[in-house]
């Protein structure tokens, strides 16, 4: 198909789709006027039912915990797919060699590694209290490691995140989420039901299984991101 024909086809079908899109939008509640009962009820009961202060986290790791299991495995499978595609076909050439030559970039970047990792841990740990959680904090954790590469050397980045350890963390965290669900079954409840003591609301020792699932998600996301960076960075060839 020529470009012109393709654009023509897009103009016609895009216009039809846009019509349907606008029609669907007119059926939505007016902006700011949402009356979803599910969310409203959760907002009023999650605090007493699950001892959380961040209701969105209780949806992710408890009320919709089973969906998050699926989500974790989408992440897991996609990362395995990337590893399978790129690792298999990689020719044995030298590791990328690079060094940041600007002292300013190196100093500021490396000084930020520690704070970024701490920030990531903080966001993961407080996911059910304040904004954040395993998914968001996991990305920040991975960003801290990647700073080692961006502001330092590829070798230091690889040394800080050994392949075997990252692979292991990825598998253990995905399996850990499943295991928490099975533990609930053994305790005589439904799969992934919150069976652990709920603790004191507003403290780190609260919300039962939510902190555990939240932590596995944090580890899973951090490991997945680092694995992805590994695979893509190994593809890069730097001019020497």
């Amino acid at each position: 198909m020529t470009r012109r024909a393709r654009l023509g086809l897009f103009a016609v079908s895009g216009a039809a789709l846009a019509g349907l899109f606008v029609w669907a939008l007119t059926g939505l509640p007016a902006f700011g006027d949402f009356h979803g009962e599910y969310g409203r009820i959760l907002n009023s009961v999650a605090g007493t039912e699950r001892h959380v202060t961040n209701v969105a986290s209780s949806v992710v790791f408890d009320y919709r915990g089973f969906d998050t299991l699926g989500e974790e495995f989408i992440l897991f499978t996609a990362v395995m797919g990337v590893a399978l595609l790129l690792r298999e076909a990689r020719d044995d050439r030298e590791r990328p060699r690079d060094e940041v030559r600007s002292d300013a970039v190196r100093a500021v970047g490396l000084a930020l590694v520690g704070p970024t990792v701490v920030l990531g841990l903080y966001i993961v740990a407080h996911g059910y209290l304040t904004p954040g959680g395993g998914f968001q904090g996991g990305v920040a954790l991975a960003a801290g490691l990647v700073l080692l590469y961006a502001a330092g050397r590829y070798r230091s980045y690889r040394a800080a995140s050994p392949q075997g350890m990252v692979d292991f963390a990825e598998g253990v965290s995905a399996g850990g989420y499943v295991a928490v669900g099975i533990a609930a079954l053994i305790a005589g409840s439904a799969y992934l039901e919150n069976v652990v003591d709920l603790g004191t609301k507003g403290t780190l020792a609260a919300a039962g299984t939510i902190p555990i699932l939240n932590a596995t998600a944090g580890l899973e996301v951090a490991a997945a991101m680092v694995l992805l960076f590994h695979e893509f960075l190994e593809e890069v060839i730097y001019p020497e």
């Binding site: 939008l25 902006f31 006027d33 979803g36 599910y38 969310g39 907002n43 790129l86």
Partner: protein, 115 residues
């Protein structure tokens, strides 16, 4: 002006789709797909917004009675973002493979080589 968030979602969707259709580079195409997906974040969050309400986080001092925006669509958006990132990573890995095999990432060029 209450239709603006929905208009933004529609704009992101179609501008991204236009990019996908007219793309001359597979990496660019993956980014465009990301733009299309961003429209779903805006749409989800716009639907769950309730005028005057804050984020669904009830730390001490925030009474539960005041209510908040919908937490369910926020959790859905989180899932959406994770799926978006993983799909992008997988597609970019495929682009690398395509480039290794055929030396081009232009969809039209690929078609020519195929026939």
């Amino acid at each position: 002006m209450s239709f603006l968030p929905y208009a933004l979602a529609a704009w992101l969707f179609f501008v991204g789709l236009y990019g996908v259709v007219t793309s001359r580079n597979l990496v660019h195409l993956v980014i465009c797909l990301g733009v299309v997906q961003s429209s779903t974040y805006v749409l989800l969050l716009a639907i769950g917004y309730r005028t005057g309400k804050k984020a669904p986080i009830f730390t001490s001092g925030v009474p539960v009675k005041v209510g908040a925006v919908d937490p369910v669509v926020q959790a859905l958006t989180l899932t959406d973002i994770v799926v978006g990132v993983t799909v992008a990573a997988l597609l970019l890995a495929l682009v690398i493979e395509i480039w290794k095999r055929s030396g081009t990432v232009d969809p039209d060029e690929l078609r020519r080589k195929d026939t």
